[in-house]
């Protein structure tokens, strides 16, 4: 499943869905909103391009790391400290592929997919921008 949603993620249901007879390892990444003095976090996406990019990343990861299953769910909208931002679940025959595939997907999302975070603080807000170099 590849999805961008404002809704909360049912993580346990997603993990259960990932369990299959041909899968020996499931690696899960869950990004959450960290308390670094913020009141909340807002996420915005260029959704049509972001979904296409996520699919491309998924396809690359499956090919490179022989993954048996991939789920990527990225949230948008207003989130509070502790809320889930991004869920990646990679299923593979073996753990090495699952770990490597999950890391690949995460780094590609951070590098490439048009989604942005805005930190909301009591004294104003700040858009987080990726590396300018």
């Amino acid at each position: 499943m590849i999805s961008i949603t404002k809704d909360d993620i049912d993580i346990e249901a997603m993990i259960e869905r990932a369990k299959k007879p041909n899968i020996g390892a499931i690696v899960i990444f869950l990004g959450t909103v960290r308390d670094n003095g913020i009141a909340s976090l807002e996420l915005e996406a260029f959704e049509e391009v972001a979904l296409r990019d996520l699919q491309t990343i998924n396809d690359s990861a499956v090919h490179l790391y022989h993954l048996q299953s991939v789920d990527i769910i990225h949230r948008t909208g207003k989130l509070s400290v502790g809320d889930s931002i991004l869920l990646i679940i990679c299923g593979a025959k073996h753990r090495q592929e699952a770990f490597a595939g999950c890391e690949f997907i995460l780094e590609k999302i951070k590098e490439h997919v048009p989604i942005w975070k805005k930190e909301i603080r009591t004294d104003g807000h700040r858009w987080i921008e990726g590396d300018h170099t």
Binding site: A45, V49, L106, W127, G130, D131
Partner: protein, 92 residues
């Protein structure tokens, strides 16, 4: 001709989510962005370097496809084209 320019994140707060611009036939992407910038005080300074080039960290998409900023000066727009301009991403 009429083209759409969409912006995101801090650019959206400055220029609005989308602008429909009437520009001359044969205009480049750069020209369309210049027209968008002219609608906002300090808009040009936000997007362009002093030498008139687009600041190198912006990302440009035309009709759903990523476009190099260098090509923004040479690609000629057509009626109905859809341009998106945004800062470096921060998802994940």
């Amino acid at each position: 001709m009429r083209v759409k320019v969409r912006t995101f994140a801090r650019l959206r707060e400055l220029f609005g989510k989308e602008s429909f611009l009437n520009i001359p036939e044969g205009s480049t992407i750069t020209k369309a962005i210049e027209v968008m910038c002219s609608t906002v005080d300090e808009g040009r300074k936000e997007i362009f370097n002093d030498d008139g080039s687009l600041k190198s960290y912006f990302i440009l998409i035309m009709n759903g496809q990523r476009i190099s900023l260098q090509d923004a000066n040479s690609i000629l727009l057509r009626d109905g084209d859809d341009i998106a301009l945004f800062p470096p991403v921060s998802g994940g």
